[in-house]
Symmetry: C2
Subunit: 326 residues, 2 copies
């Protein structure tokens, strides 16, 4: 087994040495660019951890790991066009730096490169890896579509929201672990349990992200506090607040006044909406939902008949990832 | 062996019964829509013909055939966004009917569905099919990028143009035949020869398209004559004319006057530029280039040690496709 840092070095090294293509440069430079912006490289790391969990050789996980990261970055490039996002990882987005057309086409080449990378995997594991990969890719597209739909909807239920973040974010984390497991030759049922572990951790992770946007120590979190509130982003907290406000005319009016305000002081809106969230006990309610998924993750992990120290290492990593204080 | 019509029925039937997904409908309706617009279904037909050429069972070709058509339609959906095309197959394009975001995301789901379809192919052939498929997909992206680059370039050489149409159009025709061949278990060298046959036919086909835009009987061709001339589209004819005009100041001036004219009578421009093309003997020169590729295609076909009647059937089909009068 390697340490997390060794895996990260391995991933960084592999991407540094990767040649996506050269001609036409207009197609390949944006790929070099987005892949060089780094990021946490969480998904390839999970592939390695999934493989190691079942005693697989690191070498068996490398191609699925790189494929998953390429795929993830492909979704970022295309999502950023759809979301008209100016920045990604604090750098200018591909469609802003070049053009929408460039971002579409370079993204297309990236998903093909992801499949090519995946196809270098061991022959025995490949059919199953391809199955998981494509199935997950479709789910991520569905999640992004639901997310876009939500922007136009007046009413989004908590159940719809949870389904959306599951598809858009959580399944790829589960799939990353599962692909590592499959690469290691794990039993199907055990690989499925590791998938569920990752999926629930992904849910907890996303919900915590919603919570941190409002309540994080800004210096630690590295984002402007309350950005979701300013943008009326339909997070777990806002949707839950809207749902709960149904039974209080006063809260409902105040909340909707802030949501619909065409002009406002940013600080004032953030404070007022945070006040409503506090009043509704949303930090605690969100933590309960996070804990539900965290516990479900641990339950799945427990059911896998594997080495306890391996399980412990995995939870130490996922806990550190979440910086959890439940 | 089936007849062309039987293969076409098989393809139509398969697409009619296909379920791309249902929820969210915003993701899947555009896929249903573009796939229902039909088109010639040329590429899946070539997969079947490639398979039959080497005596393969029709059943072996069905998944690669559908995959190739899905991929082709994916490229149309994304290319139409980049080209801001209002119509496709005489119907409103996906990005116009819905939005750019919808067209990007539905397209993304389509290429994943294409890979899923391909992965249903026979296990022995699958690794090679995936290789050909991804390699071709990358080439098609490169071709589209070159095509977009050309719009902004003052000078495009004939060699650059031929390379572009090879990547954007011809390789997918070659790959379709080759995938059929591989599905049938053909020898690698023979499959490669069939690929070259298809690639050269594709080149001839695209060059003929350029020629027909100016010289076709409008009623037969179904497009407005001279559309490429009106739009200053960098076709083989225009690029060749620009190249040849270098040695005649008079022709050069007249041609560039029409290219750069901000306002013009459509009919007058088409007639004038056609006049220049005629003067430069471009119909004959283009036919020579077409024949070069056609002959190269036949040469490749000849080298394959296969049944002469099979070869004859294939050329009858490709000839009919080109409506050739060389």
């Amino acid at each position: 087994m390697n340490t997390i840092i060794q895996y990260q070095q391995l991933i960084d090294e592999a991407f540094k040495n990767k040649n996506y293509g050269t001609n036409p440069k207009e197609l390949y430079e944006p790929i070099e660019y987005i892949m060089s912006l780094g990021g946490k490289r969480l998904r390839p790391l999970l592939v390695f951890l999934g493989c190691d969990f079942f005693g697989g050789d690191t070498a068996k996980a490398i191609h699925p790991a790189l494929a998953v990261e390429l795929f993830h970055n492909f979704t970022l490039v295309h999502d950023d066009i759809m979301d008209k996002a100016p920045l990604r990882r604090n750098q200018i987005t591909v469609h802003e730096k070049w053009s929408d057309s460039t971002a579409i086409l370079s993204g297309d080449a990236m998903i093909v490169r992801a499949y090519q990378e995946l196809c270098k995997s061991d022959k025995e594991a490949l059919p199953q890896l391809l199955d998981i990969f494509s199935d997950t890719a479709i789910k991520v597209c569905e999640g992004q579509q639901f997310d876009m739909n939500f922007e136009k909807l007046q009413k989004v239920s908590i159940a719809q929201y949870l389904k959306m973040i599951e598809l858009k974010t959580a399944v790829l984390l589960g799939a990353s672990l599962k692909m590592g497991a499959v690469a290691a030759g794990a039993d199907k049922a055990h690989a499925a349990l590791l998938y569920d572990f990752g999926r629930h951790i992904g849910m907890a992770f996303q919900l915590q992200d919603d919570l941190l946007d409002v309540y994080a120590d800004t210096a630690k979190f590295g984002k402007q506090k309350g950005g979701d509130i300013v943008a009326n982003k339909k997070t777990y907290l806002l949707l839950k607040a809207i749902e709960m406000a149904e039974s209080s005319r006063y809260i409902k009016e105040e909340l909707h006044q802030w949501i619909n305000a065409p002009h406002f002081e940013v600080k004032e809106k953030v404070e007022a909406v945070t006040g409503i969230y506090n009043f509704l006990q949303l930090p605690d309610l969100t933590r309960i939902e996070i804990k539900k998924h965290y516990d479900a993750a641990l339950k799945s992990l427990k059911e896998i008949p594997a080495d306890e120290t391996k399980k412990h290492s995995l939870t130490i990593f996922t806990d550190s990832l979440m910086g959890r204080e439940l």
